[in-house]
Structures are given as structure tokens and as C-alpha cells.
Symmetry: C2
Subunit: 235 residues, 2 copies
């Protein structure tokens, strides 16, 4: 039975790392004393060790130990034995390249299907969708595939951003980009604003947090979904 939280962002403006999620995580990770952390996305290029230390600081507040996947000689075995797993944000291309390079994507998919509790933030959420093709990140490295975990039967757009009123910038808005995605791909895309997350418990998918999310389905106008919306039938 799946047991995932899929969060738009790790951090809300003006708050500490993971701070807004800690009360929820205490319950979500209640069966685990140690969290296996996947640091591959390396935000800002920081080291795996430095990133893991930051995560350990946050989880110490709810009495969880944290160990970095990069410290294991056999990362597949580490995934298979993990009590709980957290994949942090950063660059999705780097994360996915490394997941394939370390041959952990399939084992990760398997343990998540079998119920290992999981938290993803930003890039770590993006990879729970069918593909990483709705990431906002810069393609700084070339992954062998854009296929990801498919823990939900649609794609995630984390850090969803509404168009800026009165902007004179001619680059595409987020909505335009997602519409372009739908010219070539049929799966729905859920734009999760910062502060929103999905709870995936078994077959049930629920929108959490205080904000609406924006749902894009191919050949249909985008719609706003209110918190507590049941997304179990979306595909």
C-alpha cells in the first residue's frame, strides 16, 4: 500500500527547511526511526554530505535520524532495506541522471509500491509522476531517459507559478509551457503551488495544504482544485 507525500516545495518563504511540513511528517513517518535521504539533486551544487546534514538538522526536530544514500556502497540494498525515504529538491535532470546511473530507479519504484513511506519535495516530487517532462529545471546534464516513478498516473509541476500581472517579459508563462507539453503528451499535469502537497495512501490521492492546485488536462481548460480534493480517479 503506497504511503507518499508529494510536496511542491521543501521550504516556504520566511520559514525554516521543511518547517511547515514537520507536523505532518511526524505522523507520516511514525513507523520509522531513520530516514534514507536521496541527496542527488544537489540544490545550488552543494555536496551530498552538506545536503544530508541540512536534512538531518530538520528531521532531528521530530526525533528522526537521517542517513544519505551516497554513503552506502550498495545503494540498491540501502533502498530495499530503508524504513522510510526522502528525496530532496534541487535539479531534476541531475537527480534523474544519478538515479539511473546508480540503478536505483526501479528498486525505488518497487519499494514505494510495497509501502515504504516516502516524502518528495520539488525535484523529489517531480520524479513521482509519469515523467520528469514538466520540471521547471535547467537541463544542466543529460539523463538517459525522462521516464520516472509513476507513483501517480499523471505528471507533477512543482513550484507552480501563476502569470505575473503586467509583466513585460516575453518568456513563456508556466501555463503556456504546460500547454506546450500537452501538444505532445496526453497525461494530466498537476501544478502544485508552494505550500500544497499530495497525500497518496494506498489508492487514495488527496490534495493537502491551504492552497488550490491547478489541473491541466489535454484539450481542456485548466481548472482550480480546492484542498482536500480527491484525485484518485485522475489519469
Amino acid at each position: 500500500m503506497k504511503h507518499l507525500l508529494i510536496a511542491s516545495t521543501s521550504t516556504l518563504h520566511g520559514m525554516g527547511y521543511l518547517e511547515y511540513l514537520l507536523p505532518v511528517l511526524k505522523n507520516h513517518f511514525k513507523t520509522a526511526s531513520t530516514i534514507l535521504f536521496i541527496p542527488y539533486a544537489r540544490p545550488g551544487g552543494i555536496s551530498h554530505d552538506a545536503y544530508t546534514a541540512k536534512v538531518a538538522d530538520a528531521f532531528a526536530k521530530i526525533d528522526k535520524d537521517v542517513v544519505g544514500l551516497h554513503t552506502f556502497e550498495n545503494p540498491v540494498a540501502a533502498i530495499e532495506k530503508a524504513e522510510a525515504i526522502f528525496t530532496g529538491g534541487g535539479n531534476t535532470f541531475l537527480l534523474v541522471k544519478q538515479l539511473y546511473g546508480q540503478h536505483v530507479l526501479s528498486p525505488l519504484k518497487k519499494v514505494l509500491q510495497n509501502g515504504t513511506p516516502y516524502l518528495g519535495c520539488s525535484a523529489g516530487s517531480n520524479i513521482t509522476g509519469l515523467t520528469m517532462e514538466t520540471t521547471n529545471d535547467m537541463p544542466i546534464v543529460y539523463p538517459p531517459s525522462f521516464q520516472t516513478l509513476g507513483m501517480v498516473p499523471f505528471n507533477i509541476n512543482p513550484h507552480y507559478l501563476d502569470p505575473v500581472e503586467g509583466s513585460t517579459h516575453m518568456g513563456e508563462t508556466r501555463e503556456t509551457r504546460i500547454n506546450e507539453f500537452h501538444c505532445f503528451n496526453s497525461q494530466p499535469v498537476l501544478g502544485l503551488r508552494e505550500g500544497s502537497w499530495l497525500e497518496v495512501y494506498g489508492q487514495k490521492i488527496t490534495l493537502k495544504g491551504s492552497l488550490p492546485a491547478r489541473l491541466f488536462c489535454q484539450n481542456q481548460p485548466a481548472v482550480e482544485l480546492q484542498p482536500e480534493t480527491d484525485l484518485s480517479d485522475l489519469s
Copy 2:
């Protein structure tokens, strides 16, 4: 002898398509009566025909005919015979996938090295760099490689955007993204603001337009370059 214009954007806010560039293009394309247009990037998913018609409207103002590359049975021959070439903006992943799929990337590189006049805007500029890895676009399709034309010995970031003062959004700024690129890649990145372009005539590369551009070199602080800066020695 190379003869390229590499523009950040096709369109400035409040102006018509290519309008700000037309006086420059009149001279740049003075030897050509017909421009071969590469419409593969398909902004907003519009058709190749519709995109080509829009470009033809703009070039009619300086008495140039436009023909779309998609209308040729043999696109490689069309590239080889072209009097001048323009690649329009849209989605860089889609553009690069199509360039590889149609086997025109190498022929395009060859004719540009031999002097066929070229204009790139946005995605069409991004591909003149060493790789497409500093595009801002969403990875809506999977290209077989991120390697591009290498008409300049660095990477281009079109639509360069300064951080928004007082933003509460936690997604990465453009500068952060480019710094992440430099954790894994050594070539310089030139951030071209909307309204700037590069002129590449032979070995000489010059920054044009009224705005400064922002240059990022690995392990060095970013610097602002003033218009008319000579970039011929940058690599």
C-alpha cells in the same frame, strides 16, 4: 566566414514580431531574397504552416520571401541550398529533437561555418551555443542529445531574467540555475536580456542592442558586459 545574428527574443513587449530587428536584418540578409525558415520549435504548439506564415508577414516588410523547411521533401538539400536561414523560438527540446530526427543539425552547422547568413531568436539562438543545456524551456520531449551547433564557443541563455526584487517564490533564480550548470560544465554562459543580440561576423563576436548582457564563467563572479563589447576571445 560566419554571418550570424543571435537574438535573445523575437519580440519586444508592445512591438510586432521581429519589429525591433528589422532594420538590422535588412542589412544582415542583404544578399538573400528568400529566407529558409526552420519552424520546428513551434511556440505554443502552433503548426509549422501557421508559424511560417507569421514569419513571412514580418519579412515581407523588408521585401524578403520566406519558405518553411517543413515543406521540403529533402530538408538537408534545402539547408545546403538556402540563401539565408532563420530559426524561430518556441521549445528548444522540440527544436533539437526535430533537428536530429530530420538529420539537419550537421548540414546546418556546415553551411553556417561556410557563411550562409543566419538569424536565431530564443530557441533558435540557444542552439548556436555548444549545448542546449542553458535553455529555460520545459523538457516536453526527449531529444537524442543536448549537443548543438557550437557557432560560438560558449552557451547562450536567452530571455535572461534578473531576480525579482522581494519575490517570495522559492523556485531558483536564473542566476542560481546557471551557477548549478557550472557545477557540471566548464563553458561560459552568456545571459542575453530581451533586446540584446550577438553579431558573429567571421571570427568577431560583438554584443549588440542597448542593454548590458550578463556573463557567467565557471568559478568566477558574474559580470555585466556593455553593448559593443567584443566577445571574440571568450571561450
